[in-house]
């Protein structure tokens, strides 16, 4: 708050006060008070007026600065009124009480919402674990079937699993710190696991996967990295072209390691490329091929942000898509 703002806020009051002074002076002059006496009176009272306004200004400014520093120091800003000393002035105190009541109501609503979200997440996780039992049983039952039916059913089960997995990671992405475990793991292990998880989809679509130079360690959460890579493989399979090939290779960038996943699929139109990480964005490919949820890359981006992975995508229509995942150097990881 500047002095100018303060004065303009009080302008009406100051004008009224000046008017009163002028009227009183005119009245005294008209009833015969000498000009010299008037001058003495004005010289005595004007500084008092000014001092009152100025002291108000400094007090208010100090209070505002105090409140601002309290707000800045708070992690949960909505707890502001709980952490602020109440004002001394009656009117301000009343306003403060009203604000505090409103904030308490909101604090309650916020904690209810948080509890509801936590419960929902817990429910989703439990549900995911429960649904895996019947999927496991179905897999075991499938092995008695003859080749072709078994393959088709197992592929369908794999699709169910991919959806279940996305739901689990969607719930986890809300509170990623809860089950993130950063360890040293070789890229090869991550890649082999991701391919294994989606082998039915890949084999069914006649895809050849070429891997190269994956024998290097990275520091990351294995399950999450497998999930992210799995989403990329699913996309490559869904948006495949003729004689589909996925090439997975690693290269070292100083202390960082870059994993590149390229396909020779149908590619992404240039104008859609900036939007592929948006939640629910399906694009023209997603609409024409169907089965797109618009969640895969969104989740990839969200989880890689947490794992401090850089996720870059390049694509050309008809030329295929390349996604590069850059794993951070160990010493740069902040959340351990």
């Amino acid at each position: 708050m500047t002095l100018r703002e303060f004065l303009s806020d009080r302008l009406l009051r100051i004008i009224i006060q000046l008017l009163c002074v002028t009227t009183a002076a005119l009245f005294l002059w008209a009833t015969g008070t000498q000009l010299g006496v008037l001058a003495i009176l004005l010289a005595a009272f004007l500084p008092v007026f000014c001092a009152v306004h100025l002291s108000d200004f400094f007090l208010q400014r100090a209070r505002l600065r105090e409140l601002e520093s309290i707000l800045d120091s708070l992690d949960q800003k909505y707890l502001f009124t709980e952490c602020t000393p109440p004002p001394k002035n009656l009117y301000e105190r009343r306003v403060f009480d009203l604000t505090r009541r409103a904030c308490r109501d909101m604090t309650g609503a916020v904690s209810d919402a948080k509890a509801a979200q936590r419960e929902y997440r817990e429910y989703v996780e439990r549900w995911v674990h429960e649904i895996k039992a019947p999927i496991t049983a179905s897999r075991l039952i499938c092995r008695d079937l003859d080749g072709e039916t078994r393959r088709k059913l197992t592929a369908e089960l794999a699709r169910v699993e991919a959806h279940v997995e996305r739901a689990l990671f969607y719930a986890r992405a809300e509170n990623p710190e809860q089950d993130c475990l950063l360890r040293q793991v070789t890229l090869e292990k991550i890649v082999v696991q991701a391919i294994e998880n989606h082998r039915f989809l890949l084999i069914q679509n006649g895809i050849r996967v070429e891997t190269e130079g994956l024998d290097c360690p990275v520091y990351t959460d294995e399950k999450w990295a497998v999930f992210i890579l799995g989403q990329l493989l699913q996309n490559a399979a869904r948006y495949r072209g003729e004689a589909p090939v996925i090439a997975i290779s690693a290269s070292s960038l100083g202390k960082q390691v870059r994993l590149t996943v390229s396909d020779n699929g149908i590619g992404i139109p240039a104008h859609e490329l900036p939007r592929v990480f948006e939640r629910g964005f399906t694009g023209s490919n997603g609409r024409s091929r169907g089965g797109s949820t618009g969640m895969g890359l969104y989740l990839c981006k969200k989880l890689s942000g947490f794992l401090e992975l850089e996720l870059d995508i390049a694509s050309g229509e008809g030329r295929g898509t390349t996604v590069a995942l850059t794993f951070p150097a160990k010493e740069n990881l902040t959340k351990l």
């Binding site: 049983a137 360890r183 391919i195 084999i203």
Partner: protein, 222 residues
Amino acid sequence: MPKIMIIEDDLDIREELVLLLENEGYIPLVITEFTDVPGQAAQERPDLILLDISLPGKDGFSLCAALRKTVSAPVIFVTSRDAGMDEVRALSLGGDDYITKPYRVPVLLARIKAVLRRSIGEPEPSDVLDAGGLRLSLTKGMVSAGGRGVELTRNELQILACLMAHAGQIVSRADLIDALWDNQIYIDDNTLSVNMTRLRGKLAEIGLPDAIKTRRGMGYQL
């Protein structure tokens, strides 16, 4: 025959596992009462234990710690819990392996075999395969017949190994591709054809041009 104890509360999975393990030549032991599991295990003396984590009463983690005191059999956790923390916890409590549901059946069997091999010293799988007049050395990547030998590439080696393991039977192209993917050779149908042609060429070099027969619409047969 190794005895495998199944500690799993899902009835369907339990029944299917029993059938599967019987087919594979193991003796399955089933826990149906989840009270005093360590006592039951001590009585039955299994060679391996498959342990779920979410169980009625005590969970798998504390059960594993208790089992460790009564039996020396290795424990494989088989669970739908897939967070990295769970795995670390399971292995630190004395688990020998950790498999997440839903698993592929061949993966489960391979892991069981590997753990059993470590614990009761089952013989290592042989390095040399003999079938259809051929002798294949897996570590050297050499196939020989009648004193003549030829080197194979990794892909050709795995194709031939798969056919020799099922000598006499018809192996479909899909099964061959499956077997190759199990060995981290991620090829497609066309690449399989190319490799098959090369493999046949090499077999012809050692005097067996018709060792691998094509069964139209069904697959290959050694």
